[in-house]
Symmetry: C2
Subunit: 338 residues, 2 copies
């Protein structure tokens, strides 16, 4: 079985589990609340469908990790649903906090229903993520289910820590690379590490093996963010679905930008002069950044982190075809043609 | 031991438990995030202290219920901390959703730190509530801790359902009394019912007894809301700490207002004409509402619900001095001179 086969087997089960959980909102009185959640998850409303759902990478990581660690992935489906609901809760709130108009090519929840209702719908999605995790038991033991819940809750806290730093950094002129990585640990890596750790936990592995899966997810998350930052400036928008003017135009302090600022070269001078001020100057900024070495740097960092992720995966010693599928997922994710 | 003695014994333990949980946010990088939470909880910043903390009624209900159901309240402290953190999470988000400037006489978190950071701090408080509950185990068994978590998560969802309806009703000309009670069940009664149920659960009682405690909390919550609505129009602001022009001036669809609208008398005509438009006309509106019978109606409803809450408490057969303290708490709460 290759990755595509696993996806076909696993993702419908995750979708079904999430749908059953969202039904909890149920009842005629809460039709609009449920509709907001179903819209955000890509199930309903204009533009619903595969693309609007996102790639469901996180639940796939949970279930592949369970299988690769020697467990039955079917028992881990509630955990996979929980992490995807948690991820989507954070997106609904991030879109409010970042003033984002579009998500996966569609108007964001707060743009459609207004800020107060969207904020509250995000809270509902957060509660549903917690409810989903408890569906593990039975057949999973109460003790393991508690451990899984603890990982979910601690990860939720890490997400808010990462988002807190990300917002603080927006208002600051200077952000060090160390601060950047600290932010990424919370905002991106913590949840991906939770996915692989939860997968291993639910396979009933030893603590050291579980930690190895955690470390694999963490390095994958860091690499993923570095590559995402690369694509935000030099990516092919036709492939990534992201605007290529986006990150520079929004003056996001991504990895290449922070590297360029530290280099204090041509890019840094333009940036401090307030550029780019229009989409037309974005290519000039991107070229200056490349001349200052930021493109090569970001590629090298991504490659290094990818290798570390693969080494961490080796260390976890994933078994069988699911282990192969995990490797395939890493290589696809970090080229982003998935 | 009377209620005041229980408060003196129990509330410092709850405060200590919450403080230990909020420390989880810790570290120099997250000083501001922690400060926002400590501010909201009344521990730090201008105006910190007893009054800024609120009355901590919910944790008290948890611990008194545990003691009255024959358990050791000391073991239930993490659950008491969890419900108070959950309540405060919902207040941080409600203040954003309702555009509220003041909370317990101090500027709200979003007024002080801006909407995006406050929204995120609310999410952090929500995550901490979940983390707090898991601190039950040990000594509480994994199975009971899971049940307690399930109650917490389902209550979180009920809170978002209630808040959803409350916001929907703001934009509607007509709201029936049935719809009003449905909203109050989610927004107020669910969490108070969770408090008394959690208390009983952690004392290890039988399911019927646990349900009796739940029903007691639920009726108490409904009575509490009716009385809160009464005080929002006819209360003595010196005693309640609430503005007496508040609810009418903000055109809140509270119980007396909905009754007055159904009666279609003088009050309803003024309301439909867009009154009150200034604080000066509020007393005239309040007088019209009283003439239409809404004051007597709201008093009668509160008295009826209070009796139902006390009957439900009898049904739960609370034991010893803690049972007496619960009765004392009901009578104090519903006169609000506590």
């Amino acid at each position: 079985m290759v990755l595509a086969d696993y996806r076909r087997a696993m993702l419908p089960a995750v979708e079904q589990s999430m749908q059953a959980i969202v039904e909890w909102v149920g009842g005629e009185d809460y039709r609009q609340l449920q509709e907001m959640l179903a819209y955000h998850l890509g199930w309903a409303g204009e533009g619903a469908g595969e693309k609007a759902r996102g790639k469901r990478i996180r639940p796939l990581l949970v279930l592949l990790s369970t299988a690769a660690a020697g467990g039955k992935w079917e028992h881990a489906v509630p955990a996979a649903a929980a992490v995807e609901l948690l991820h989507n809760f954070s997106l609904i709130h991030d879109d409010i906090e970042d003033n984002g108009d579009l998500r996966r090519g569609r108007p964001t929840v707060w743009k459609k229903w207004g800020l107060p209702q969207a904020l509250n719908a995000g809270d509902a999605m957060f509660a549903l993520a917690q409810i989903a995790m408890l569906e593990l038991h039975p057949p999973v033991s109460a003790e393991l289910t508690l451990q899984a819940s603890r990982i979910l809750h601690q990860t939720s806290l890490r997400l808010t820590q990462g988002q807190h730093l990300d917002m603080l950094f927006e208002d600051r002129a200077e952000v060090s690379l160390e601060e950047y990585w600290n932010m990424v640990e919370g905002k991106t890596a913590a949840l991906i590490a939770a996915c692989t750790e939860l997968g291993a936990l639910l396979a009933g592995v030893s603590d050291p093996e579980r930690r190895a899966y955690h470390e694999f997810g963490r390095m994958l998350g860091l690499a993923f963010q570095a590559w995402d930052d690369y694509l935000g400036i030099w990516g092919d928008s036709a492939l990534t679905g992201k605007s290529t003017t986006g990150d520079l135009m929004e003056r996001k302090k991504t990895l290449p930008v922070l590297y360029g600022l530290e280099r204090a070269g041509r890019f840094a001078r333009m940036w401090k002069a307030g550029e780019p001020r229009s989409p037309e100057t974005v290519p000039l900024m991107a070229a200056a950044l490349e001349d200052d070495g930021a493109r090569a740097y970001t590629e090298a960092v991504t490659a290094d982190l990818t290798n570390q992720a693969l080494a961490a995966l080796d260390n976890a010693a994933p078994k069988g075809e699911a282990g192969e599928a995990l490797r395939e997922l890493v290589s696809i994710l970090l080229r982003r043609d998935y």
